[in-house]
Every structure is written in structure tokens, then in C-alpha cells.
């Protein structure tokens, strides 16, 4: 999933993520049922739905971390995917710096950028400089979430998939996240966020998708129209009363 420089995705027609007829079962339980949806460059999608609606599983399937039982995921060739989910995907015994250094070096191999600069930038951006030598297991959940986001964002992936990213974040870190997502949208990247935190993330969304029982029950569409967006959010709120 490597090699596309960020400049190459400036045309929204180039970048797309498409899921076709996705079916995912865990044992006898169907988590995602024949779901088809597509996303295009510039989208900032809020994925809403009650617990168990299938949001997290859909993100994992889109990231390629969970294999669907049926269906297909297509992502524009060469696009990189960043994913931050319920797990930090960090090594709890290693320090924050050691963890992030691995990713900085992996990106540096690819882009010939300086691993040290990437690492310093990530630690500074998320306010983790003072905790750099502490192991992941020793820091707060908030710091773990920041480190997980810093990991997912290392190298500026074109497609960003975030599962409840703001749940452990303070206001400053949430603002950092919002500005990164807005910047990615301007650069025609795709961000899909599964969340219940409408209050803090609503104004960065260009599209809202509501899931229920493994399927999409409402979608404001790709137009970015504010009326459609508000109407979809209302559908979600009514279904949760």
C-alpha cells in the first residue's frame, strides 16, 4: 500500500474507496450484511450507529485487517491506509519513541524523508515529547490514543480510518485531529470516522452515514450538502431515542 506521494491525489476522481456486497459473520452472528458503499477524495465521513451496528468491523474490513466472508474492497492503486482502532497497534513494552521510530523509519525508506524529523514532528504535534521515554503501558489512555493516532498518520496516508478517535482525547488533541482531518480533506484524501461524538466532530464532516444491524440505513451522500447532512443526523438521533 505504498508509494503514492500526496501530490498525486489532488484530483478527487483519482482517489476512491469502494466496498461491494460485503458480508461478514462472526460465528452465527452477521455483523455486516451485503453492504455496498463508496467514498471519494475529499470525503470526511462520520460513520454513526448504535453499538454493534457494524461500524468498527466495516472500518477493519476497509483497512484490510479483517477479511470479509464475501464481497470486495477496492482502493485506488498505490494509496496508503492509516488506521487507528480500539487497539493501539503499538507495542506496550516499548517506549512511545521506540514505537513511533519504527513507523518513521518505514516511511523514511519509502519517501527518503528524514526519520528523525518525522519522529520529532509526530511527538511535537501530539504533545508527547515529555512522555517519549515512557512505555505505552505506563502512560494514560489519552496519551496511548494520541500515540496511536500519530502512528496511523505517520507518512500522511491518503486514506484515514479512525474508530472512536476522540473518545480519550482532550480538547487540544481533538483540535489537532480536526485540523489534520480538514487538511486531508482539502488535499483530497479520504477520512472515515466511526464515532458517537457528534458534538466535537460534526462540523468537519462532509458526509454522514448511519449504520444499523450491519447495513447502511441513511447516507447524506457525496454532495456535502448541509441540509442532507443535518437530515441524516436527525435520522440517527431519532433511531437512538
Amino acid at each position: 500500500m505504498a508509494n503514492a506521494a500526496r501530490d498525486e491525489i489532488n484530483d478527487p476522481a483519482i482517489l476512491s474507496v469502494e466496498a461491494r456486497q460485503i458480508l461478514k459473520r462472526f460465528g452465527a452472528q452477521t455483523i455486516i450484511k451485503d453492504l455496498s458503499i463508496s467514498f471519494k477524495g475529499g470525503d470526511v465521513v462520520l460513520l454513526l450507529g448504535a453499538n454493534g451496528a457494524g461500524k468498527s468491523t466495516l472500518l477493519r474490513v476497509l483497512a484490510g485487517l479483517t477479511r470479509p466472508d464475501r464481497g470486495k474492497i477496492s482502493i485506488t492503486n498505490g494509496s496508503r491506509v492509516g488506521f487507528a482502532g480500539h487497539y493501539t497497534a503499538l507495542y506496550s513494552k516499548l517506549s512511545l519513541e521506540q514505537n513511533l521510530a519504527i513507523y518513521a523509519k518505514l516511511v523514511a525508506f519509502r519517501d527518503m524523508s528524514s526519520a528523525q524529523d518525522l519522529l520529532r514532528g509526530a511527538l511535537r504535534e501530539w504533545g508527547l515529547e515529555d512522555l517519549r521515554d515512557r512505555s505505552v503501558s505506563e502512560v494514560s489512555r489519552g496519551a496511548q490514543s494520541k500515540a496511536s493516532l500519530a502512528r496511523a498518520l505517520m507518512g500522511n496516508p491518503e486514506v484515514l480510518l479512525l474508530d472512536e478517535p476522540s473518545s480519550n482525547l482532550d480538547e487540544r488533541a481533538t483540535e489537532t485531529l480536526r485540523s489534520i482531518v480538514a487538511e486531508k480533506s482539502r488535499a483530497n484524501g479520504i477520512t472515515i470516522i466511526a464515532t458517537h461524538d457528534l458534538a466535537r466532530l460534526r462540523d468537519i464532516a462532509t458526509r454522514v452515514v448511519v449504520m444499523e444491524k450491519g447495513g447502511v440505513v441513511a447516507d447524506s451522500g457525496q454532495s456535502g450538502d448541509l441540509g442532507d447532512l443535518n437530515e441524516t443526523i436527525e435520522t440517527y438521533r431519532r433511531s437512538n431515542r
Binding site: 500500500m1 492509516g82 493501539t88 497497534a89 503499538l90 507495542y91 521506540q98 518505514l106 525508506f109
Partner: protein, 229 residues
């Protein structure tokens, strides 16, 4: 190719860093080896066996201790991957399953080999066996066996990694598959003690090579699926 090697090196550094931060495997290996070797040494000494009998049973004793200590000490070899699902971030960043697996095998094999060297040094002293002239050959045999052991244990620890019984499951699943390696190790050690080296035409080095290749092939093809699912 250069990027593959750089990524592999990075994964080896990660494994070494993980071991250095926790020192769990090294501590478990050395402590278990010291305790079991001391117990066996004391038991054999108190049995008042003659020197010839002790030499005869020495290869079997040393391989039993080696295989049991490594399999029991390595039960948590894949725990670091599964704990925070660290491998998922790496896979998304372009690291491949075989690179993750090979780096683990490489570092585990190095630790197992150091454990083997320690084991033969301690047991030779405890059981009064002069291994000076064959130490290098035994070290080479141990290196081959350590590779096979690491290839198998890394895979099995991934399979059993999410079970609460992994401490029991890893030795239980691993030991039966190690019989060819056990016989090859015992036979090669006996050849070294009796004849001063591996006999020409001996089939046992081939058994170690075949075991290592087979375990590596299975691990390379299935480790990613094992830790993912």
C-alpha cells in the same frame, strides 16, 4: 530487495528492543536451564553412575533439558504482538507477515543458541564430561536445532497466543513435533562424544535441515493468518 532487508533489520531491532525492555525470555531460559541442569546433575551424581554410563546418557539428558526449557520458556513468544495488536499497524505500514515472522525466529534462535551453549557448559561440568575438543561441533549442532526450534515455537506461540492455557499449550503442541529433532540431536551429540565429530554419511544433519526448512515454510506461509485470526 534493499527495502526488504532494511525492513527486516528494523523488525529484528524491534524484537531485540522488546526483549531488552522485558528480558522475560532470557530470564526464563537461563533460570529454567540452570535449575533443571542443576537438578539433573545432582540426581545423576547421587545415582553413583560410572563414567562410561554417564557419557552414554549425557546426550539424551542434555537434549531433553534443552527442548523442555526452550518450549516452556517460550510460551509467550507472540504475546507482544497480540497484546496491543502491534502487528496490525506494521502490516498497514507495508511490513509483510514473513518479515515479522522471520525477525522473531532470528532473535529467538539466537537466544536459544546462547541457552544451548550455556547448557552444555554447565552440564559438562556437572557431569564431568570433557567437551573441549567437540565444543565447536556441538555449538554448530545446537545452532541448527535452535533455528528449527525457533521456527516451530514462534508459529505455535501465535496459534496458542490468545488462550489462557498458552503456558501449557505451547509445550504440548510443540514437543510431539520435535521428536525428529530430538533424535537427530541425541544421535549427533553421541557421534561427537564417541568419534570426535559427525560421521561421514550420517543422516542426522539432514534431519535437522529438513525440520528447519519444513517449519520455516509452514511459518512463513501461515504466521500472518495465525496472529490475525
Amino acid at each position: 530487495m534493499l527495502r526488504w532487508l532494511k525492513t527486516f533489520k528494523l523488525m529484528v531491532v524491534k524484537e531485540v528492543s522488546l526483549e531488552l525492555r522485558g528480558k522475560e525470555l532470557v530470564t526464563l531460559l537461563i533460570c529454567t536451564t540452570l535449575v533443571v541442569a542443576a537438578l539433573i546433575g545432582a540426581g545423576v551424581s547421587s545415582a553413583v553412575l560410572d563414567a562410561a554410563t554417564t557419557t552414554k546418557i549425557y546426550p539424551m539428558l542434555v537434549w531433553v533439558v534443552f527442548l523442555i526449557t526452550t518450549t516452556t520458556a517460550s510460551a509467550r513468544a507472540s504475546e507482544a504482538e497480540l497484546e496491543g495488536r502491534g502487528f496490525e499497524g506494521l502490516l498497514l505500514a507495508g511490513v509483510t507477515g514473513p518479515q515479522l515472522y522471520l525477525a522473531k525466529v532470528f532473535v529467538s534462535a539466537a537466544l536459544f543458541w546462547i541457552n544451548w551453549l550455556l547448557l552444555i557448559a554447565i552440564t559438562s561440568a556437572a557431569l564431568d564430561q570433557d567437551l573441549t575438543s567437540v565444543f565447536a561441533k556441538l555449538a554448530a549442532i545446537g545452532l541448527g536445532a535452535s533455528g528449527a526450534l525457533a521456527a516451530l515455537i514462534t508459529l505455535i506461540s501465535g496459534v496458542a497466543g490468545t488462550s489462557r492455557l498458552r503456558g501449557v499449550l505451547v509445550p504440548l503442541l510443540t514437543l510431539p513435533l520435535l521428536f525428529p529433532l530430538f533424535f537427530a540431536g541425541v544421535e549427533l551429540t553421541t557421534e561427537c562424544l564417541l568419534y570426535g565429530g559427525v560421521q561421514p554419511g550420517s543422516i542426522w544433519p539432514g534431519i535437522i535441515l529438513i525440520s528447519t526448512t519444513a517449519f520455516l515454510l509452514v511459518g512463513l506461509n501461515s504466521y500472518e493468518a495465525v496472529v490475525r485470526d
